[in-house]
Symmetry: C2
Subunit: 767 residues, 2 copies
């Protein structure tokens, strides 16, 4: 292959050349950042005959590969280009910061800081640590954070660093926490440390929590419109509180409206329907017409304005989602363009050769084998020429995730076995794939389901359990042998079947040996019944969507937990040891906190309200407590001041915001999915499509040998075994060519691409 | 004007000609119903010279007008064309059935049948009637219904009648009810009459309840997908119930999971969070990890599948709404085409002259004055020729609702007053319209709001109340005089201000004379504060949408009430007199039904659980009781059998369906509105546009006189005063022309037209 003496069109990180982007325009993410071609003329380009110059040329190419890989990474992670490293120094810091070891360190520091709350007073009894131990641990973690920040400073440069809001906030919080940790260490006792509620910031900022950051951004984006409607909600609440106070305060038997404050609180709690219908009964007992008041209030607030909140968030969500997807696409595209410019040579400025492409991938995907790099190039290279055009290169993100495998000549995994075995396996395969087998299994599952219900009611279980388990086991074995392990485990449903069956067997063993703690495994058995829902397309859709949503839901859950954490810390600082059995005998919720011994006949029974279990005595309890916010509110208020209600109401509103966003998100995801499946009805029903994205690349023998040669020439010392193996295979089987298939599962982004096809095209054209 | 001797293109309801549509194709709603031109040649057309023939011609025109009017009516009401009257006999029945007196009769019969439940045993004590009285009343109402059905039979013909599902169901129910009423009358005592739950059918079937019927249809349409997801919900519930039973039944202190049935019921109630966190506490007290069970259950069921239910309904809703709007438009269009064909003459088959158009309107809108009929024609007649083309005629529904008024030469209502008065009023007008005045009023309202809060807390009120009331009164007077009463009252906000102010004054009077029952008027005062929300565009949008949604919400509320009614009847039949104070001392909800005298010190206090007020002793109580469904469920179950749970669960699921639809509807409406206001940002902000749809028609003096002449000639004896007045006005003011403005408020349909413009155009072109 040619191009050994090609000179890069753009030289990067050379002395005197401050990277690809000018120092002074940090937000050049819009695509005009590649414009400084004029620099090239100022850079002295070594002559091809000089050997030192040759090695220098190779060095500049390597530098270019690295920067191109960084661009692709930035495009993938949606990092803005103004944080792009602009000098060799920044580059080394960038490389230090951007690797999984560092990410892991960030994550562990963040987690360590958060779990410290378990050990700090008021601590969980079994985890209590001495003050100097946990304060030292905290100082250690904070020093780690400081170190991370220093590295970031080196990478970003002072100028960008102080303009990066998130980092600045982190720095400030770090400073405060540091001071406080030292104060604790000096005084040897914890003071009122509400600032601990800010600790999640360190966790949120780490690379692995990008999804949580995205959620938080989304929450803040929908906040203005949310607050507007919230004000309307509160306004109606206050108007109704005044009305309620005027109407019902004359009734001495009504504790809910006897003061204006109680009136507001009652109506606030009524929003959650937690105190309904109790709040209505005293007024209702006096005058039947008073239920009109409550019906009107609930209709306006709960059914109208609360839905309005949802509608507003849903609407913001809907709009933002599309815009974000588009801007992400555009960002990726400009990242690819940047990378492309770095890979072309002066001699051929509009094509990337295999050599350069391979160089890029060595930096971008260090783990990728030489064969896969070559196949990726082939997959991109649609035109069949030796170079990748910019249009070809634009597809690079789509082909990066593909797993390559040679297309098998035969259909089944047992093709190479002797004839008798082949026939047996073929038979099993046919049986397993037949409709009849499926329906028999459905019937077994259904019967099993009915049986579980009956047996749970009767309470004698073992025989059927064993027999059904064996049945399931045989099914799993048949399927694995019939389809081949690879094909079997590539389906999510089969994985599910497999794990439930394994659990069922574990449960059987546990039952046989009477191991009490593993009893829960036995009760997982009814999950088998979930298979029945595979029958109908709609359920398959729903369950698939559920699985697709899972990562996003997890990140939303994490976001919620972070809010909970902050509130739990604040609650602990203010309300620790406020709640105990029989604490609130003067309040309206006295019953819930009661713990008394009652003698019935000659037996003493402990009569419990249980709610004293929900307290703020340590962080685990606080987490649990925040779920029963309104009864707790009454208890705490009766023990402390009325202002503590503010805490609970704020908490409720924050939870409401996050919950509304979760609901809007689920709604949006499902509506999207339904629209998608309506638009592409055939493709979703098509089992082929369920396997995800498949791409083909055909390799000729000559080509393969040539490539091997090229690689040997340029990359002496690297591992070429995968390429050699490919060549050997071709040689052995006497194929003149070999077809490889690349597969990956479909992501949300692929669906969105298909949905918004036309709009995206318009976008590109406007670019 | 010409055209006296025009012969209709199509003759209708003549002997031997069975109407416009062939007898044998009932669903010709798609526009090819006008195809039977060949009939015309068989009909003998009278010569113009013959006077008897002349009158016969006039008669056929009148018949055509009437049928065209019926077509327009059918298009407006979305009645299918296969119920179109096809003979003179059917016509008379149709006319008898389609008028407000008959509708009112239908409505009253339906309402009478429903309110009879108040008086039938178990009756509301004060309304109890003897058996023979209420049975006779019921028989009377049923006879009325039978009479209505007979009229319908005559109009529809036997063939169509038995194929009309709704009518057939009604007939069957009527038959059953009739038999039962006679049995009651004979036995002189009520038996178990669960069929009374079917009574709402008579109400739902009447013309005025079309919106309720639409809602029911919508509910049935989204039912299949709803049930799919509901099954998933129930499935997970049962799996978790089995899990919960296995895990927690070993705990003797846990009453929620001690049997499989209790386990299912507990988890069902947990869906409403009505028993949360009580259901968790016994398990939680024993093992803190058990909260995982509840968290997982709630996440899957409440946050995931319940939202999925909403998403599915929302999606169906979204799709159905658009399709329905389109099919409605197409139906209207084909109705207009039918009408048009009936109005054109053989001589000029593609235009409708004023005379024919006027004839149509005399039947279609009998109350419309001759002037308005003429103006409507002018408004439609965009081309300026003497005939309306089909394209012009297609706009007829848009111009029908317009209220016509001559455009005033001056700007203000006080233009004609003497100069001094004019200046004064002009001054007031300027003041009232100024920003400063508005903001002063906002400040007053805000201050008033703060004051109300403070004074409610302090409990001494009168002086400020009077002063603020006077202030508001002055404002209202100033605005009325400044803007003129007509302009003032045409704004919804002003109407709101006015009524609140009037109420405030009434309240003052009530307060002055210490009239206790009117006290509630005083407490309506805080509603004034709603005015503050006018400041921000978003709130205006929200509140406008709220008002727009109101009719639809009312119909949804009515739908819900109808379901409540049926369930209340069933509940009464089975559970009457089951609940009384201290009834359920053996159940878990004993506290709620307790009513005991407790002696504290030397005072005797009645300690009440109040829930015994929620019983099924009469229909009013039943209505109230259904709101507290789950506590009631426990109470009733403890008194009767376990099967009564089925009733309560069914009720809850039905309510859930209706509620989900209400939520989806609100969501849809708001998202629609937000999309609309995003698409037409300028037009919604534009105050001109807020006034609704405005159309202009310019009338020349010659034209007016000519028309008057024409009307005098053709319509001797009808009231032409409006036309004469118009001519006189022109004469007096010596204007050669007069411009009239037609106004109407914007409806949802106008918004939809604007939103779906392009799709509708495509629709029309495909027609």
């Amino acid at each position: 292959m040619s191009g050994d003496d090609d000179v890069p069109l753009i030289l990067t990180w050379d002395d005197g050349n401050s990277g690809l982007l000018g120092e002074d325009d940090p937000d050049q993410a819009d695509g005009n950042g590649v414009g400084n071609y004029d620099n090239i003329n100022n850079v002295s380009i070594p002559g091809p005959s000089d050997s030192r110059a040759q090695s220098s040329l190779r060095h500049s190419w390597e530098m270019n590969y690295q920067e191109a890989a960084i661009y692709l990474q930035e495009g993938e992670n949606n990092d803005k280009f103004y944080t792009h490293p602009r000098s060799a120094l920044a580059l080394s810091a960038y490389l230090f910061v951007h690797n999984h070891l560092f990410y892991l360190m960030e994550l562990l520091t963040g987690v360590l800081l958060m779990i410290l709350s378990l050990a700090e007073a008021p601590a969980v009894p079994s985890l209590r640590l001495d003050v100097y131990v946990h304060a030292t641990l905290e100082l250690f973690a904070l020093v780690m954070v400081a170190f991370e920040l220093c590295m970031k400073l080196r990478w970003l440069g002072f100028h960008t660093f102080i303009r990066h809001k998130r980092t600045m906030v982190k720095t400030c919080v770090l400073f405060i926490q540091f001071t406080e940790a030292i104060v604790v260490l000096v005084r040897q006792t914890s003071h009122l440390r509400v600032t601990r509620a800010l600790r999640p910031i360190f966790l949120v900022d780490c690379r692995y929590c990008g999804a949580v950051r995205r959620n938080l951004r989304q929450i803040f984006q929908s906040l203005p419109s949310f607050i507007d409607i919230l004000l309307l909600l509160l306004f109606f609440m206050i108007i109704f509180a005044i009305l309620g106070f005027c109407l019902f305060s004359t009734n001495p038997a009504d504790p809910y409206f006897n003061t204006l404050e109680n009136s507001i609180v009652s109506l606030f709690v009524l929003l959650t329907t937690a105190n309904f219908p109790d709040v209505m009964m005293p007024a209702y007992a006096r005058n039947r017409c008073s239920c009109v008041f409550f019906i009107v209030y609930l209709s306006i607030e709960l059914y109208f304005i609360m839905n309005l909140l949802l509608a507003v968030v849903f609407d913001t969500f809907n709009g933002v989602e599309k815009v974000k997807f588009k801007s992400l696409l555009l960002h990726k595209r400009s990242a690819m363009r940047h990378a492309f410019q770095l890979l072309v040579s002066r001699q051929r400025p509009d094509g990337v050769s295999l050599k350069q492409f391979d160089g890029l991938l060595r930096f971008y995907r260090p783990r990728m084998s030489a064969r896969d790099r070559f196949l990726t190039f082939k997959a991109l290279n649609q035109s069949g020429t030796t170079m990748l055009s910019l249009e070809d290169f634009y597809k690079i993100y789509e082909v990066m995730g593909l797993k390559w495998r040679a297309r098998r000549s035969g259909e089944y995994w047992f093709d190479d076995l002797p004839h008798t075995a082949f026939l047996i396996f073929k038979g099993i395969n046919l049986v397993v794939k037949s409709k009849a087998f499926q329906y028999v299994m459905y019937i077994v599952v259904a019967v099993n389901g009915v049986w579980i219900l009956v047996e749970t009611n009767m309470l004698n279980s073992k025989p059927v359990c064993v027999c059904v388990c064996v049945f399931y086991g045989v099914e799993v074995l048949l399927k694995i042998t019939g389809l081949g392990p690879v094909a079997y485990f590539s389906s999510g449903w089969n994985l599910f079947d497999f794990s439930v069956t394994v659990f069922a067997f574990l449960g059987l063993i546990a039952l046989a040996f009477d191991m009490e703690p593993f009893y829960f495994i036995v009760v997982l058995r009814p999950l088998q019944l979930l298979r029945l829902f595979k029958i109908k397309q709609r359920y398959r859709n729903v369950l698939d969507t559920m699985f697709e949503l899972f990562p996003r839901m997890a990140s939303l859950g994490l976001t919620l937990i972070i809010f909970y954490y902050s509130f739990a810390i604040v609650g602990m600082e203010f309300f620790a040891d406020v709640i105990y059995p029989n604490c609130c005998n003067t309040s309206t919720v006295a019953d819930s906190y009661r713990q008394v011994n009652v003698t019935i006949g000659n037996r003493t029974v402990l009569e419990e309200g249980y709610y004293y279990l929900n307290n703020f005595n340590n962080i685990l309890n606080s987490f649990g407590s925040l779920n029963v916010v309104f009864i707790l509110q009454e208890g705490v208020t009766s023990q402390t001041s009325h202002w503590s209600r503010l805490y609970f109401m704020t908490f409720y509103i924050v939870t409401m915001v996050v919950m509304t966003i979760i609901v809007a998100f689920i709604l949006d995801a499902f509506v999207f999915r339904m629209n998608y499946s309506r638009k592409n009805r055939e493709s979703l029903d098509d089992p082929e499509d369920e396997k995800g994205i498949v791409m083909e690349a055909e390799v000729l023998q000559d080509e393969a040998l040539q490539t091997l040669d090229l690689y040997r020439h340029t990359l002496a010392g690297t591992n070429l075994s995968s390429l050699q193996e490919m060549c050997v295979t071709m040689e052995r089987n006497r194929h003149s060519s070999l077809v490889f298939l690349g597969r990956r599962s479909r992501t949300k982004s692929d669906l969105s691409m298909k949905m918004y096809q036309e709009e995206i095209q318009v976008c590109y054209e406007m670019m």
